[in-house]
Symmetry: C2
Subunit: 408 residues, 2 copies
């Protein structure tokens, strides 16, 4: 049933698949009226734009290997099923922040979705120093709502456990376990470095007891805490936006994991952008600083509101006494404090791995002067080392720590 599509086969496939055909063409129109062009340059999948006179859509198909390497690196195409199910789940919760799905097929490992041709990838836009006034509102909505409404705080115990089973995304979890939580902290062949980065700095943190233990703790949390349906890869390359709209894309790493992972990955990417911006770019630097502070503060406030509103609605017997809601609020504050600690822990791991692991961020790795880049990378490593081994009261203290390590 499954076959790998190409430009020609896509036309045939659409011609046979009425649900897609009817979106693009009137019933009497010929399939030759559509244009197909490959536009993807991702690591994992093939992405095509399919266009007719009335509409254009994106068709994304997973192949049973890692696209960027080739057939010698097999990777089960079931990852597309997780992406499809996660897109649907997220869309139901955050309608305006997730692209529209027109058609999906588990058998063909493909999805046909809204073409975001008025939107660009956040990372590129930040490198271009673009400002998005609604972004932190939107992302904090996405985080507060997807994490709350898929968790034990909202779902029935049975429904949540069924979800955990459904999103048993073992293969992609293993990639994260290896490339975020293991390889960057050992002398592994997959790691890649800026040749100008002082290798002594790298060797030092790889043998630091407190850092190693802290990273091992975060790895264990990632593997064992099934708190909520995570996006699983929420960096600034997984967000497409314009001045008005924000869309979160590519949730193929989705699984039930610790909430702080999504928040931490996102804030880490903001922090790395911050380190990459020169002091003289005062305005943009302050904007990114504001993003870091706003993302956490808005998230925390919205998540708490979700918890309190839900409790007010369901009026559980457990908290049904004069001071009950006040005590429940204390429980919410307690939870969010622990979530903050997790967030900073996961944030640190992302900063490490994007500096000395396999995958880099263009914000930093795109800097052509390798010495300037190495200086930024050293700052990021020093900051991550401090963050993961310390406790902070709030995001302002974390921001102060980031600024302290931003030695230009």
């Amino acid at each position: 049933m499954y076959k790998i599509l190409n430009n020609d086969l896509i036309k045939e496939y659409i011609d046979e698949t009425l649900e897609i055909r009817s979106i693009l063409l009137d019933s009497n129109e010929s399939i030759d009226k559509i244009e197909v062009s490959e536009i993807g340059d991702g690591n994992l999948n093939f992405v095509y734009m399919v266009k007719s006179s009335k509409k254009s859509v994106i068709l994304k198909q997973a192949v049973p290997f890692l696209r960027c390497v080739g057939e010698e690196y097999p990777l089960s195409r079931i990852r597309m099923s997780f992406e499809i199910e996660a897109l649907k789940a997220e869309k139901e919760i955050c309608h305006d922040l997730v692209p529209e799905i027109f058609y999906s097929s588990h058998d063909m490992s493909l999805v046909v979705m809204q073409n975001l041709d008025n939107h660009k990838i956040l990372r590129g836009e930040m490198i271009e120093r673009k400002i998005f006034p609604h972004l932190s509102e939107h992302i904090s909505d996405f985080l507060a709502d997807t994490l709350f409404y898929t968790s034990d705080f909202y779902l029935s115990s049975t429904q949540k456990k069924e979800n955990v089973k459904k999103f048993n995304n073992t293969e992609l979890c293993k990639i994260t376990e290896d490339f975020i939580f293991t390889h960057p902290y050992e002398d592994n062949d997959t790691n890649e470095y800026n040749p100008k980065l002082d290798i002594k700095l790298v060797k030092a943190f790889r043998q630091d007891a407190d850092i190693k233990v802290a990273v091992a703790n975060m790895r264990y949390k990632f593997m064992s805490e099934a708190q909520a349906l995570l996006h699983g890869d929420l960096h600034s390359g997984s967000i497409m936006l314009n001045e008005k709209e924000t869309f979160v894309i590519d949730p193929e790493f989705a699984f039930y994991g610790p909430m702080g992972f999504d928040i931490g990955i996102y804030i880490a990417n903001l922090a790395m952008s911050y380190f990459s911006i020169q002091d003289k770019e005062t305005k943009y630097k302050n904007y990114v600083k504001g993003m870091i502070l706003d993302t956490w503060k808005l998230f925390a406030s919205k998540f708490k509101t979700n918890m309190l509103n839900h409790e007010k609605e369901q009026k559980s017997l457990q908290w049904d006494y004069p001071d009950g809601l006040k005590h429940f609020e204390q429980f919410a504050d307690d939870f969010i404090k622990k979530l903050f600690d997790d967030t900073i822990g996961f944030m640190s791991c992302e900063m490490f791995r994007r500096t000395v692991g396999l995958a880099k961020v263009a914000d930093v790795a795109g800097i052509e002067d390798l010495n300037a880049r190495a200086n930024i990378e050293a700052n990021i490593l020093a900051c991550a080392s401090k963050l993961i081994t310390s406790k902070y009261k709030n995001i302002d203290e974390v921001m102060t720590e980031i600024q302290k390590h931003d030695k230009q």
Copy 2:
């Protein structure tokens, strides 16, 4: 295919099922040579002893309702499948501490197993003040090995996630969530009290902010932390033993949860026994105190040894540097410290719920003088209230706290 058996139908069933028949009878012997007698008095299942001239076995069958209430309280018989799979998994890890399984059928929701007719239930034996010199060694083996060898510390990430999926024991988890973590802390109709227990004490802890938040935290851990395959109901009624041998039975609540739950439930049952013993029974009181201390200390030491030995064997690149093993040991100590805190938290919940929830322990509830019983119950509630809202360095400090609240 499924049908509920009774004494007569069991004979028919065994006659048709060669795997069981051949254990009990020679091929030419008539089925009339076996004797069947119902021996179970459990809450959930039917238990029969089946005896021939050469052997006797136990046949245990789950019915699709709660046995102790009747057909009006439906409970899916799939619980027997979890019990069968858990027995097999535990047997593989702790061969000498789990009864032998001769035959099992998911379709019939039944298991045929070793008849432990030389063994008695630990709770009854403790009420009789019997001493078992090997018990703490055995139970700490069971805990250290089942919890380690089913966890992310030992299994591959893929295997462990498959296990989580397999042991998706939602229905029985819900019973624990309700009856250990919710109802006892609210004015719920299912709760039952000793009429002589001062109701003001009960009302007070149900409106205490710190206790409510701490219990809600433990409940959330129970629902979201998939650390290891738990027995799920490891109280002193789930252990059968004699002076030489110890068997852990009835793992129908098995699922992937926080390790501290199994340890905490067991130690809580020892602690409640301790409170129930009069000061003048000095020797037995000291014996139970020793059990509490030994169980944790032996567990912690064995679990750590499991972690270190496994790391020495697998020599992961991550810890492969001069001080690597020392740093890994620091990680192990760190983990066991958190596990200790979890253990004391879960222990407290079990002490609360066995005093003011639906199910009681015979050690305390069997005391005929209701005023004497109420005094013990008040001590248990006060102790649990203190334990769950405090931090302790080690089990000795916890034991001191227990003794401080043992006001006779």
